[in-house]
């Protein structure tokens, strides 16, 4: 039985890909998806460490994160639809009214 390091590395890679997606992409839909990726990367770490420690708390937190992620996806997508109806774009570089 190997340690949680492989899971943690996987978790880190998923998180990093998600983070890069959030920072680098312009399409708001892709960004939302990247956020999901980051959350799930964290979930992997939670479950792995929880299992390794024999503590169910990690799994419980993973469920918690999934719940929040679901809600977030619903709210996020509704906002995106509203924005699209208003501006006919979801390119975040063009949605920059709140600036200096």
């Amino acid at each position: 039985m190997m340690g949680p390091s492989a899971y943690l590395i996987l978790s880190g890679i998923l998180f990093a890909i998600g983070a890069i997606g959030v920072v680098a992409r312009k399409n708001a839909l892709i960004i939302l998806m990247s956020v999901e990726l980051m959350l799930n990367g964290v979930n992997v770490a939670f479950v792995a460490v929880g299992s390794y420690m024999g503590d169910p708390t990690g799994g419980i937190f993973a469920f918690m994160v999934m719940t929040v992620a679901a809600a977030e996806a619903a709210v996020g997508l509704s906002i995106l639809i509203a924005i699209y109806r208003l501006k006919e774009t979801i390119d975040i570089t063009e949605l920059s009214v709140l600036k200096w």
């Binding site: 983070a19 959030v22 992409r25 960004i31 975040i92 949605l95 920059s96 009214v97 600036k99 200096w100």
Partner: protein, 690 residues
Amino acid sequence: MVSALSNIHEYLWLILAFPLAGVVLNGIIALVAERPLLLPADGHGHDDHGGHGDAHGGHHETPAYRKLVAFIAPGMIFAAFVVAVLSVLQLTRMPAEARTVVQTLFPWIQAGGLSVSVALQLDPLSSVMILVVTGVGFLIHVYSVGYMSHEPAFARFFFYLNLFMFSMLTLVLGSSYLLMFVGWEGVGLCSYLLIGFWYEKDSASTAGKKAFVVNRVGDFGFLLAMFLVFWNFGTLNYTDVMAKIPSLQHSGILTTGLATAITLLMFVGATGKSAQIPLYVWLPDAMEGPTPVSALIHAATMVTAGVYMVARSNALFMLAPFTMGTVAVIGAATAIFAASMGICQKDIKRVLAYSTVSQLGYMFLACGVGAFGAGIFHLMTHAFFKALLFLGSGSVIHAMSGEQDMMKMGSLRKHTPITFWTMFIGTLAIAGIPGLAGFFSKDEILWRAFSSDHGSPFLWAVAAVAAGTTAFYMFRLIFLTFFGASRMDKEVEKHVHESPFSMTIPLMVLAALSICGGWLGIPAALGGSNYFEKWLEPIFEGGHKAAEAATEAIGHGAMAHHDPMEFILMGASVAVALFGIAIAYYLYMVRPEKPAKIAEGNPNLYRLVYNKYFVDELYEWLIIRRIVDWSIWLWQMFDVQFIDAIVNGVAKTVRSAGDETRKIQTGVVGNYAFSILLGAVFIVGYLIWR
């Protein structure tokens, strides 16, 4: 009741409390009843119903609040006068050495070594002052009720007047220099308020400001003197300061130099308040105030505060021969200088104003030659006859419907007999006609100026010439106003009338005092007992003792014995006064066309004197212009280019920094996400590798 009376000194505070009650009551009435007057005239038009009822022609009933004010204001002063009289009567029954009563009311300032209580001190000196202030003050309050009867701001006037009485009584009754200073500033404020009472008039508000600013110059000196006293004596109470003089002299702290510095600075304060050279310029302008104010503040009481201060500090002054010389010379110079300015004035009140400056000069001359008692004596008699003369001139102005130019008067004797006779008595008193009040006090000063250790024949000669000049310009005033042909406007002449009883009765009382007031101090040479001087002796003997300890020299043996010189000088001063009267009679009664010719014959001299030696212009050019120029420089150079530049520079820097840094806020969510990520990485990195 008997027990209360037997211990009247427990109730000294009532002398202050009564005027203060008047201040509060009249202040409330002024605020409530005269509020419309305080609002801008174009407000809502209720001005028309407020005070200017007379303007509509109909004779209105006196409003109830005015009757109330007319009762409260003089009534409170009368109550204070009664308490003062009872207190002084009890003081006379005490042994001479024990005649200093100090009543501590409450502790005021406790800070480090400084401990000041609000305490009142009744001794022979302050007893004279409170009697003069409350007595003359009461008469002037009664007079004011009549004089100001047409004034819309009736309650406001008496509010100020009562406030003045309270401040003045604080000044003379306080037991320490600090309390004196409180009163000193209080009377200065009231003087300002009352000179500028008719503040809509530009000249009045300017004169008020001038008085205040000039007084501030003097107050600065007084303040510094107080600092010096506290620094070296550790206390500001009169009794403690006087008690410490011998020991401090002994230990070498109180040197002649220190005494000179303290007393000179005090005298600077006195020149401001008591209108001496070089700070006298505000007093003639102060005549812009209502006439009762001129009588009360600018003749009888406030302007004598400087004399009181010098007399109160006599023990210190006696240690500083240089200051004594300065006081005497300034006093004598002011006496003659101001008297000469009075000769050519056409405004009846201005003549009296210069006369006041001149008479105050006499008081300082007396103090300067060490005759503090004579100075206070003259202070008292002057309060009687000068208040009388001012109130008389007010009665004349009242009769003339506001005209103050003597060139437009004449023959008023027939129309206003009471005013004429009382003013005539006052004039005789100030001219120094034997038997009247002014004679005894002025002659005492002249004699002491000649005979005292500090005096000299020169000082006597100057003062005697000033006395002659005084007699001349006062009789000029009488002749121009009451005698000769009428030069009045026809319209004014129709309305000329004697003043109401509320005004003439104070005149008569003051006339009686101007006759009898001097009898308290009939000199020994004339067979009198000079009760007044004896009464004040406990106050002033300390100073003489201290001076003797300092000089180790001859005592004051030259004072008591009968010197034939005294009679000769007395005769001389009477002769000089009669000579002045004779010239006035010749110029203004026998040959009324002559003065104009003399003026034409010496146009330059006349211009010089008529324009008061251009002193105001000189000050304007020498001091005021300089200060204004300097202020402008400070404003344009220092303030705008330095201070403002710093402030604006800071603002500009912040602003341009903001201009640049705000561009961080791009509005692109990705950038924000990136900075959040970066921050998270840094924090985590720090937590890992710290």
